[in-house]
């Protein structure tokens, strides 16, 4: 008797509209899309890293299987992380624990916050970063 997809997405939307987190934001790509499939998100780069003060844009697609299955997530802004496909910007699910071990209760906000944490893992911190503002 889990919450249906639409009401779950409405909850996430409401939280996002209220400004869910200080370091990330998210909302519907098209505010009139009743299926609530496509979302845009931003992540503020982690401090004390090459990402500090940068703002990364991501696209999130919640198809009809969400939240039973994770959404598709893709960086629009270029970023060099182990879990990001360097040609498409898509998240490589196998390399991103939050989506690999998906739980129904995990939200888009969790994904964005965990991607931010990825920026400062030991492996990722050593990676050179592309010029700010470039896109995939």
């Amino acid at each position: 008797m889990a919450i249906p997809r639409s009401f779950r997405l409405l909850e996430e939307l409401e939280k996002g509209e209220k400004g869910g987190s200080q370091v990330c934001s998210y909302g519907l790509a098209d505010g009139e899309d009743v299926t609530m499939t496509k979302w845009n998100g931003t992540i503020l780069g982690a401090p004390n890293s090459a990402h500090a003060n940068r703002i990364y844009s991501v696209e999130i697609e919640c198809d009809s299987t969400y939240p039973d299955k994770p959404p598709k997530v893709k960086f629009v802004s270029k970023i060099n992380l182990d879990c990001v496909d360097q040609t498409t910007g898509e998240i490589i699910v196998e390399k991103f624990n939050t989506m690999k071990n998906w739980k129904r209760s995990t939200t888009m906000e969790d994904i964005l916050l965990d991607l931010r944490k990825e920026m400062i893992t030991a492996t990722n911190k050593a990676l050179p970063q592309p010029a700010e503002g470039s896109t995939f």
């Binding site: 008797m1 919450i3 249906p4 009401f7 409405l10 505010g31 009139e32 009743v34 609530m36």
Partner: protein
Amino acid sequence: MSALPRRIVKETKNLVKDPVPGIKTNIPDDDNLRYLTVEMEGPAGSPFAGGVFSLELYLPEEYPMEPPKIRFLTPLYHPNIDKLGRICLDVLKDHWSPAFQIRTVLLSIQQLLGTPNPDDPLLSDVAELCKNDNAKYCEVAREWTKKYAIPEPKE
């Protein structure tokens, strides 16, 4: 998964068995009595008359301490209902009481169709029109009703 409270079983079964006139409730999945779909007739004398509007309703874990979650699936032109079908109505928010029932909420929503509240709008442009040029508002609302909520006659 905890057992469903008796109140929910009773309320949902009753709604299906003994519906509110002009409001039909269905349980799409018998294993999930917390999720209902609703077909609501537009109230007579309103620009929504003649239309049948679909809604979906979910009773959260906290129900009845928290109100049901409900939204329109059929588009409609109304200052208190946004493009995603979300409804701005006091009984769904701060004026909810556990003494209310799904039935109460559905009736309030149907009533809201006939008596919009442009002073507490979700859509300010629709509210402006509703207040300043009510005839035009009704005309647009009727057009939308015709376009989205009146089934095409069968050939």
